[in-house]
C-alpha cells in the first residue's frame, strides 16, 4: 500500500513536473548586459603570495563613496566594472584585515581609456602586513592549544575545538569593541580546511570497517607466524614488513588498530613480552608510511598542499624508506635481543596454535572477494588517478560507496566505524592553524627560517628535516606539519634548486619519522599504547623515549642520506 503510493506518487510527480516544464520553458531569456570596461589588477603580500579576500573599491576621492566594489580571488586578482559616467579623478582603495590599507590613483590616460570603453590594468599592488592584537591572540590560542595537547590536560579534539571556538568568539564579539581583534569569519575559516584530507580519511575508514569484518588482516598476521615457523628473529622482521606494507597503503592508526590485537595474541602464545614485537611494529608503520601518499596523515597534508602525487612519493621516498627500514630492523633485533634470541622461546603448544588458527579464519569469503575487487580498483585509481586529476579523496569515497552499495552492510554501523573524533580534530585544527596563517604568523616564521638558511639548499634540507623531526616528538606531528607547509612552500619558491619539491620530502621524512621519538609524537603510537594497556602491557612515556629516540636518529639519518643522493647527486 505504502510502496504503491510512493511509487505512483513519485512517478506522477516527475511526469507532471517534466510536462509542465516542457510546456512552460519556451520563454524568452533576459538580454545580457553589454560588458562594461574593467579595472583589473593583482594584490600580493610582501612575500609575493597572492592575497585573497581583500576589498577593492573604486572611488572618486581617496576616502569617498565607492563607485564599484570587488573582492580579490584566490589568485589575488580583482576586476572592478567601471560605471558609465566617470569623474576626473579615480582612486582604487584596497583594504584587508591584517594588512595596511593602500590607495592607488589612476592616471588621466587610464581614465580616458575607460571612457573609451577599454579596460585598464593597474598591475601588482604589494600590501605590507600589519601586526595587530589579533596576531597575538591567534598565536596565543595556538600555543595554548598545543600545550593542552602536549600535556594531555584535555583530549586533543576538545582542545582544538575549544581553540577554534575561541578564535571565532574573539573574531565576532571582539570586533565591535576593537576592529583589530578580528581574526577571520566562518566562511574564510572554512577555506583553510582541506576537505581532501577529511574525505580521504572518512572514505578509507569506511572501507577498512567493511574489509576488517572479512578477517583478512588476522589471517595475514597468522600466515606471518607460519612463515617464520616460530623463529622469533625471523618473525620480528616479517611482522615489521607486514605492518610497514599495510601502513603504506592504509592509515597508520588503522594498521596498528588491526595489528596490535593479533600481535599481542601471538606474543602471549609464544611467551614473550608483547612490547618486543609491538614497539618495532609501530615504528615500522611510522617509517614505511611515508612511502605513499595515503600512508600517513602528514603525507596526505603535504601531498595535497604541494600537489605531490602518489607516484612521486613512491619513486622519491621508497629507497630511503627501505634504507631506514633495514636500519630499523637491525636496531630492533639488537635492542630486543634478550627477548627474541633467548633459548626456549618460540615453542608453542598445539592447543594454542589451534586457537590461533581459529581466530585467523576468513569469516566472509563472499564479502572478501567483493572487497578485493573494489580494493584493487581503488589502488589502481590511487596510482593512475592523478593522470586525470582524480583526487585521492574522491577515490576513497568511491570505494566506500561501492562497498556500501554492493555489500550492503548496516550503514549506520559503518559510519559509526569512522573515527569522527579524529576528523573533528582535523577540521578544528585546520581552523586554528588557519587563524595563525591569516594573521601572518606563518609568514613571520617563514621569513625567520628563510633568513636563517639564506639560499643554501643543503642547509635548508638539514634544517627542515631535523627541525621537524625533533619538534614532531614534542607536539603532535599533524598540527606541526600543517603549520610548516606554508613555510616550506615559501622556501621552495625562494631557494634556487628547490623547485623539485625536495624540501617537502624532507618535511615528510622529518615529521613522520619524528613521530617515533615519543609516545605523543604520532597518533598510531597512542592507539597502540591504548590497546596494549587494555591487554595489561602499558607503554609508558619514558619507555617509548628510551626505545624510540635512538631509532628516530638512526632512521632520519639514513633517510637523509638517500634524500641527499636523490636530489643532489642523481639530479646532477
Amino acid at each position: 500500500m505504502r510502496r504503491w503510493i510512493r511509487t505512483w506518487g513519485l512517478f506522477a510527480f516527475l511526469l507532471s513536473a517534466s510536462l509542465i516544464l516542457a510546456f512552460a520553458s519556451r520563454g524568452s531569456r533576459a538580454q545580457e548586459q553589454p560588458p562594461s570596461p574593467l579595472v583589473t589588477g593583482t594584490i600580493q603580500d610582501s612575500q609575493d603570495q597572492p592575497v585573497e579576500g581583500a576589498t577593492v573599491q573604486l572611488g572618486a576621492e581617496a576616502e569617498g563613496e565607492a563607485l564599484a566594489e570587488a573582492v580579490t580571488q584566490s589568485n589575488g586578482r580583482y576586476a572592478l566594472p567601471a560605471p558609465q559616467d566617470l569623474p576626473d579623478n579615480l582612486f582604487v582603495q584596497i583594504s584587508r584585515a591584517h594588512f595596511e590599507e593602500d590607495v592607488v590613483a589612476l592616471s588621466a590616460a587610464d581614465i580616458q581609456n575607460l571612457r573609451n570603453g577599454e579596460s585598464v590594468v593597474v598591475g601588482i599592488t604589494t600590501l605590507p602586513r600589519r601586526i595587530t592584537p589579533a596576531f597575538w591572540i591567534a598565536a596565543l590560542i595556538f600555543v595554548a592549544m598545543l600545550v593542552l595537547i602536549a600535556t594531555g590536560t584535555l583530549h586533543n579534539t576538545l582542545a582544538a575545538l575549544l581553540g577554534a571556538s575561541l578564535v571565532f568568539f574573539v573574531s565576532y564579539l571582539g570586533e565591535p569593541l576593537m576592529e583589530d581583534l578580528f581574526i577571520f569569519g566562518f566562511d574564510r575559516a572554512l577555506q583553510y580546511v582541506d576537505w581532501n584530507v577529511i574525505f580521504l580519511i572518512m572514505g578509507m575508514m569506511i572501507v577498512i570497517a567493511v574489509v576488517e569484518r572479512t578477517g583478512i588482516f588476522q589471517w595475514l598476521a597468522y600466515m606471518a607466524y607460519r612463515l617464520s615457523g616460530g623463529r622469533l628473529w625471523l618473525l620480528l622482521p616479517i611482522l615489521m614488513i607486514v605492518t610497514g606494507v599495510a601502513s603504506a597503503l592504509l592509515d597508520n592508526v588503522t594498521t596498528m588498530l588491526l595489528m596490535t590485537p593479533i600481535t599481542i595474541q601471538i606474543s602471549l602464545a609464544l611467551g614473550i613480552n608483547p612490547l618486543a614485537l609491538l614497539m618495532p611494529e609501530v615504528m615500522a608503520s611510522n617509517v614505511v608510511g611515508i612511502s605513499t601518499l595515503i600512508g600517513t596523515p602528514t603525507n596526505i597534508l603535504i601531498g595535497s598542499f604541494a600537489d605531490i602525487s602518489f607516484n612521486d612519493f613512491l619513486v622519491n621516498l621508497t629507497p630511503g624508506v627501505v634504507l631506514a627500514m633495514i636500519g630499523l630492523v637491525l636496531y630492533s633485533e639488537f635492542v630486543y635481543r634478550k627477548e627474541i634470541l633467548a633459548p626456549g622461546k618460540g615453542e608453542i603448544s598445539p592447543l594454542l596454535l589451534e586457537k590461533l588458527e581459529e581466530r585467523a579464519q576468513i569469516t566472509q569469503p563472499g564479502h572478501l572477494r567483493k572487497a578485493a575487487v573494489v580494493g584493487t580498483g581503488m589502488i589502481l585509481l590511487f596510482v593512475f588517478g592523478e593522470r586525470i586529476h582524480l583526487l585521492p579523496a574522491v577515490t576513497a569515497i568511491m570505494g566506500a560507496t561501492a562497498l556500501l552499495v554492493w555489500i550492503r552492510p548496516d550503514i549506520e554501523e559503518m559510519i559509526e566505524a569512522v573515527d569522527w573524533t579524529t576528523l573533528v580534530f582535523f577540521i578544528t585544527l585546520f581552523i586554528v592553524v588557519g587563524g595563525i596563517q591569516e594573521v601572518g604568523l606563518i609568514s613571520l616564521v617563514a621569513t625567520g627560517i628563510g633568513d636563517l638558511v639564506g639560499e643554501n639548499l643543503i642547509l635548508a634540507m638539514f634544517v627542515v628535516t631535523w627541525f621537524s623531526a625533533v619538534l614532531s616528538t614534542v607536539i603532535a606531528n599533524i598540527p606541526f606539519t600543517a603549520a610548516m607547509l606554508p613555510v616550506v612552500g615559501y622556501l621552495t619558491a625562494t631557494i634556487p634548486g628547490a623547485g623539485n619539491k625536495v624540501l617537502f620530502y624532507c618535511l615528510s621524512v622529518g615529521s613522520a619519522m619524528g613521530g617515533n621519538g615519543s609516545l605523543i609524537g604520532a597518533s598510531a603510537n597512542m592507539v597502540t599504547a591504548g590497546i596494549a594497556e587494555r591487554a595489561g602491557q602499558p607503554i609508558t612515556y619514558l619507555y617509548f623515549i628510551k626505545k624510540g629516540f635512538p631509532a628516530l636518529i638512526l632512521t632520519v639519518a639514513l633517510a637523509m642520506v638517500w634524500l641527499l643522493i636523490r636530489f643532489l647527486v642523481l639530479a646532477g
Binding site: M1, R2, R3, I5, R6, T7, W8, G9, L10, F11, F13, L14, L15, S18, L19, I20, L21, A22, A24, S25, R26, G27, R29, L154, H155, L158, L161, L162, A164, S165, F168, F169, Y172, L173, E175, P176, G185, F186, L190, W195, N196, M202, R387, I388, H389, L391, A393, V394, I397, M398, A400, L404, V405, R408, I411, E412, I415, E416, W420, T421
Partner: protein, 468 residues
C-alpha cells in the same frame, strides 16, 4: 515481480523526463545543453527515486549520487569534455557548511538534553495540572511538542515525547492516536518557527545567511497561528474521544508513570540548561555582530563538552553522522545540477509559468513543495528548490523581501503533514505507536493530516500575500 514493475516504472519516469528535455532541447534551438546537463539531471532523479522508494538507505543513495557525479567528471570528462560536471573542490563550495555545523552543534545539545529527562518531566507536570481532563491535557501536550520542536530537531522532539504521551493517554483512558497524531503535526509546524527547528528551515535560513533572530521574526507568527489552528482542528476531530475519556488506571500505574518521567540527572540538567540558555542568548546577541548560527552552536557545544563531560569520544559517537554525510551528498548532487544549468532551466520555466507575477509565484512556491513533500523526500527537494527561489527572487519585481523563500519553508514543512511518509517525524511516530500496539494505516493518518495540511497551507498563503 513487484520489483521488476518498480524498476520499469522508474525507467519509464526517467525516459519520459529525458524525452521531455530532449524534445524541448530540439525546439529551443538546441546545443545549449551538453551531455552533462542530462547526466546530472538523471543522477538527481535516480537519487530522488532511490530515497523516495527506499531502494537503499538515504545516505547510501546520496553518496552514490555524489560519487557518480565525480566519476562522470573525472573518468568520462577526461575523454569527452562534454561530460565534465564539477570537480571535487568546486563541489565542496556547493556544500553549505553552515548547515552541517549548525546541525552538528545542535545534535550535541540534543544528546545532552535528552539524557536529562526534562521534557518528560514537563509532560508529566501537564498531566498533573490537567487533573484528568483529557482535552486540556491534549492541548498542553500538543503545545509542548510544538514548542520543543521549534528549539530541538523535530525528530528528537517526537522520540522524546511520544512514548510518554502514549503512557499518559492510556492512563487517562483515551485512545493514544488522539494525542500522538496531533503531536506529530505540531512538531512539523513548530519546526518551521526557528532556524534550528527542522532540516528545511535550517537549509533555507542558512542559505540566506539569516541569523537566528531574522529567521524567527519572520516565521514565529505564522507558526504560532498554525499551531492554534491545529489545536482547534484537533478539538473538532477528536471531540468524541476527548469527551468520553475517563481514567481507568490505578494509582500504582500513575506512580510508575511519574517514575518514568523523572528528571534523571539533576546536575547535568543544570549545566545543560545554563549553557543552553547562554547559547540562546548568544543566538540573539551574536546576531548583532554578524555571527553565523553555526558558529554559535559550535561554541556552545564546545563549552558544554568541556564543562559537562569531557569525554570527546562518547560525545561524538552520539552525533548522528549518517545524517551529516547524507546532507553533504545531497548538496553535491544539487551543486552538479546548478553547475550544469538544470536549475536555471527549471527556474526559467517556472518564471515563465508565473509570468513575472509575484502572487502567482508565491502561491506556486507554497503549494508545489506542499503537495510534493507529502509523497517525496523533502530534503533533496528543498535543496534543489533553493536556487530556483534565488533565480525567481532576482527576476521578479518586488520579490526582494524574500517572500519566495518563506513560501518554500512553509510549503516544505507544513506539506509534510499530509501523509505519514511526508516527513521523518511522521515515520518515527508511526513506528513508536506500532511498538505500543497501535497500527496507523495510511488512510488513518491522512484523515487527520490532509485537513490540517490544507488549512495551514491556505493560512500560510494568505499570510504571505497579506504580509509581504
Amino acid at each position: 515481480m513487484k520489483r521488476i514493475a518498480l524498476c520499469a516504472l522508474a525507467v519509464l519516469g526517467l525516459v519520459s523526463l529525458f524525452a521531455g528535455i530532449w524534445w524541448l532541447n530540439g525546439r529551443s534551438g538546441g546545443g545549449r545543453y551538453g551531455t552533462s546537463f542530462f547526466v546530472s539531471a538523471g543522477i538527481f532523479v535516480f537519487v530522488f527515486a532511490a530515497i523516495s522508494l527506499r531502494w537503499m538507505h538515504e545516505t547510501s543513495a546520496a553518496l552514490l549520487g555524489a560519487v557518480s557525479v565525480w566519476l562522470f567528471h573525472y573518468v568520462a570528462g577526461t575523454f569527452f569534455p562534454t561530460f565534465q560536471i564539477l570537480d571535487f573542490e568546486e563541489s565542496m563550495r556547493f556544500v553549505d557548511w553552515n548547515v552541517i555545523f549548525l546541525i552538528l552543534g545542535m545534535m550535541i545539545f540534543m544528546a545532552m538534553f535528552s539524557e536529562t529527562g526534562i521534557f518528560n518531566w514537563l509532560a508529566f507536570r501537564a498531566f498533573r495540572l490537567a487533573r484528568g481532563n483529557a482535552w486540556l491535557l491534549g492541548m498542553a501536550l500538543i503545545l509542548l511538542t510544538g514548542i520543543v520542536s521549534a528549539f530541538l530537531n523535530d525528530v528528537t522532539a517526537i522520540l522524546l515525547l511520544v512514548p510518554l504521551s502514549i503512557e499518559i493517554a492510556e492512563t487517562v483512558g483515551i485512545h493514544p492516536l488522539a494525542y500522538v497524531i496531533p503531536e506529530v503535526l505540531a512538531s512539523n509546524i513548530g519546526g518551521a518557527a526557528t532556524i534550528i527547528g527542522d532540516p528545511p528551515s535550517t537549509i533555507v535560513g542558512s542559505h540566506l545567511g539569516l541569523s537566528f533572530v531574522d529567521y524567527m521574526v519572520n516565521m514565529v507568527f505564522i507558526s504560532a497561528i498554525c499551531l492554534v489552528v491545529l489545536l482547534v482542528l484537533t478539538t473538532g476531530l477528536y471531540w468524541r474521544a476527548f469527551s468520553t475519556a475517563r481514567q481507568r488506571t490505578s494509582p500504582a500505574l500513575v506512580a510508575q508513570l511519574e517514575a518514568d518521567a523523572r528528571i534523571t540527572d539533576n546536575r547535568l540538567l543544570k549545566k545543560t540548561a545554563l549553557v543552553g540558555l547562554a547559547t540562546i542568548v548568544l543566538f540573539f546577541v551574536g546576531d548583532q555582530f554578524g555571527m553565523p548560527p553555526s558558529v554559535i552552536a559550535l561554541v556552545g557545544a564546545a563549552v558544554l563538552i568541556t564543562w559537562v563531560r569531557p569525554d570527546m569520544h562518547r560525545m561524538l559517537r552520539e552525533v548522528d553522522w549518517t545524517t551529516l554525510v547524507f546532507f553533504i551528498g545531497i548538496f553535491v548532487i544539487v551543486g552538479a545540477l546548478e553547475a550544469t544549468g538544470v536549475i536555471g532551466w527549471i527556474a526559467d520555466a517556472i518564471a515563465h509559468l508565473a509570468g513575472d507575477n509575484l502572487t502567482t509565484a508565491t502561491v506556486l512556491m507554497v503549494w508545489i513543495p506542499g503537495a510534493a513533500s507529502g509523497i517525496v523526500a523533502n530534503i533533496p527537494f528543498t535543496v534543489a528548490a533553493l536556487p530556483i527561489a534565488d533565480f525567481l527572487t532576482a527576476s521578479i519585481n518586488g520579490a526582494g523581501n524574500l517572500v519566495l523563500y518563506w513560501a518554500l519553508v512553509l510549503g516544505a514543512d507544513l506539506g509534510g503533514n499530509a501523509t505519514y511518509l511526508g516527513s521523518a517525524p511522521n515515520i518515527v511516530a508511526i513506528g513508536l505507536l506500532a511498538q505500543a500496539g497501535y497500527r496507523v494505516s495510511f488512510g488513518r493518518f491522512m484523515r487527520d493530516g490532509v485537513p490540517v495540511t490544507i488549512v495551514t497551507l491556505a493560512l500560510a498563503t494568505l499570510w504571505l500575500l497579506l504580509h509581504y
